[in-house]
């Protein structure tokens, strides 16, 4: 969705500055896992607003439905049953794109303009520029993008960039009946989260905290977790996500280094020819064989 065009912070596979004359406030979605009741209204609102219907699946005997993110299901609730201090805890996490400040997908993407990061922090896929290589999946520390089997384009949560561009909250935040999904400026959301953490701590969750992982520069989708010391409890939320060093190597310094090395070999060859001259067959040998032939 290319509604905004003057406030682009970063553009995939582009080495010059993107149009960024308009500065917008950094936004964030805050998902308070402790007040989520797992009703899936956010999933329904996501498909409603984006007007995408996934295949009707089958029940796997658990609440998770669909079982995983797909090219047509950009957010899913993940239900974890965890025993804490002899009590069952039902930890329900709304999974989807985290909108990293340092997005691994954008770093890995080879197609110019297929992935855009706006000044407000939203990381958006522009499918018309996507070539379907799947490098975004390789780059993502959260396993979010999915390639469509129908059109071979990558899809994920857009944080309703079209709604946000016109001052609306994302559809999931708008619909959430318990207020577990909040939306506003990143600063406001951090303040709100701080209050929720105080409340949770007073209720016996001593390790409650905000999930805004520094390894990816912070995220524009944040969680309030009752067990912020153990994010893995929440269906494998990574404790310390960062762009894999392999991806950084591949799309980081290897890119210019290898390009320069290849150019150096090509130029080196040319200059070798110019400076040393061709390696010709010696006249002496040619004459010698001619003489033999004449005999």
């Amino acid at each position: 969705m290319a509604l905004q065009s003057l406030d682009i912070a970063r553009r995939s596979a582009t080495t010059t500055a993107a149009p960024g004359v308009r500065q917008t406030t950094a936004v964030a979605k805050l998902i308070d896992v402790s007040t989520c009741i797992g009703c899936k209204a956010c999933q329904a609102a996501c498909m409603e607003w984006n007007d995408i219907r996934d295949e009707v699946g089958v029940n796997h005997g658990v609440y998770d439905n669909p079982m995983d993110l797909t090219a047509k299901s950009w957010t899913v609730m993940r239900y974890a049953e965890v025993e804490e201090k002899g009590k069952l805890e039902w930890l329900i996490r709304k999974d989807g794109c985290m909108h990293c400040a340092d997005p691994g997908c954008l770093k890995a993407c080879p197609a110019p303009g297929a992935i855009i990061q706006y000044a407000n922090g939203i990381v958006d896929f522009h499918q018309e520029n996507c070539i379907g290589c799947g490098y975004c999946i390789t780059g993502c520390p959260f396993n979010i993008p999915r390639i469509s089997q129908e059109d071979n384009k990558a899809y994920k949560c857009s944080l309703c960039s079209d709604r946000v561009a016109v001052g609306q909250a994302p559809a999931c935040a708008k619909v959430c009946p318990t207020g577990a999904i909040q939306f506003g400026s990143k600063e406001q959301m951090k303040d709100y989260a701080a209050k929720r953490v105080v409340d949770l701590k007073s209720r016996g969750y001593g390790k409650a905290g905000l999930y805004d992982p520094a390894g990816v520069g912070g995220t524009h989708v944040m969680y309030v977790l009752h067990h912020a010391d153990r994010p893995e409890l929440y269906k494998g939320l990574p404790a310390d996500p960062s762009i894999s060093p392999l991806v950084s190597l591949w799309k980081g310094f290897a890119k210019p280094l290898a390009s320069v090395a290849m150019a150096a070999v090509a130029l080196g060859s040319l200059f070798h020819y110019v400076m040393k001259g061709p390696n010709e067959v010696s006249k002496e040998l040619e004459d010698e064989l001619e003489k033999e032939d004449a005999k």
């Binding site: 582009t14 080879p110 894999s244 890119k255 290898a258 290849m262 001259g277 064989l289």
Partner: protein
């Protein structure tokens, strides 16, 4: 084509066709692969009908190259076994590069440099093929850590390979009278005697 009936046959038609099949595939793969590696090369995708077509075609061309390289590998493997004379040649490659090849040790059909290139390319081809499969999402869906490793290996080996092919092509151009061996199959006797004397003696029976 016979330019001079006394020219020596170096490659038969099948060997030449095989070599050029690998060569054409390599050029197409390098052009499309570079496009995915660095944005500066992205416009190369236009040669293939755009980014999506480049992404679709690249792995299939890779499979064709792998298969035709395997055939070429078995054609030439026996001729590329390293000998002590090759090692001696390699240790003195600086003289050769400097344009003074008169004192270089006598070489068979291939010199030490060509043999080293042969084995290095075989290793690179293997690594490229395997790591390329890791990245081929149309058919494979492997754990992301393997895909990441595959991406780094594929890019690094491809860059090394492109540099080696530059050297390979340059060597053929620099040593005059070489390219025709791969184009119409023959070389002059003087060329053979100067650059591959042991091979010259073997095919002509002369000293």
């Amino acid at each position: 084509m016979i330019r001079n009936p006394k020219d020596l046959a170096r490659y038969d038609a099948h060997e030449r066709a095989n070599h050029w099949l690998v060569g054409i595939c390599f050029i197409l793969l390098a052009l499309s692969g570079l496009a995915f590696f660095h944005p500066a090369f992205y416009p190369l995708t236009q040669l293939f009908g755009g980014g999506v077509w480049a992404r679709i075609l690249h792995p299939y061309i890779g499979v064709i190259m792998a298969v035709s390289f395997i055939v070429m590998f078995f054609r030439f493997r026996a001729l590329n076994v390293m000998t002590p004379a090759d090692k001696e040649w390699l240790s003195r490659v600086g003289e050769m590069m400097n344009g003074d090849d008169h004192n270089m040790p006598e070489q068979g059909k291939y010199n030490g440099g060509q043999k080293a290139m042969f084995w290095a390319m075989a290793l690179c081809m293997l690594l490229l093929f395997v790591s390329g499969l890791f990245l081929w999402r149309a058919y494979f869906n492997l754990p992301v850590d393997l895909v990441r490793l595959g991406a780094v290996v594929h890019a690094a080996i491809a860059a090394i390979m492109i540099a080696m092919i530059f050297v390979h092509v340059y060597a053929a151009l620099w040593v005059r009278g070489t390219v025709r061996a791969m184009v119409y199959g023959t070389v002059t006797r003087a060329w053979a005697k100067q650059h591959h004397r042991a091979w010259y003696r073997q095919v002509t029976g002369k000293s």
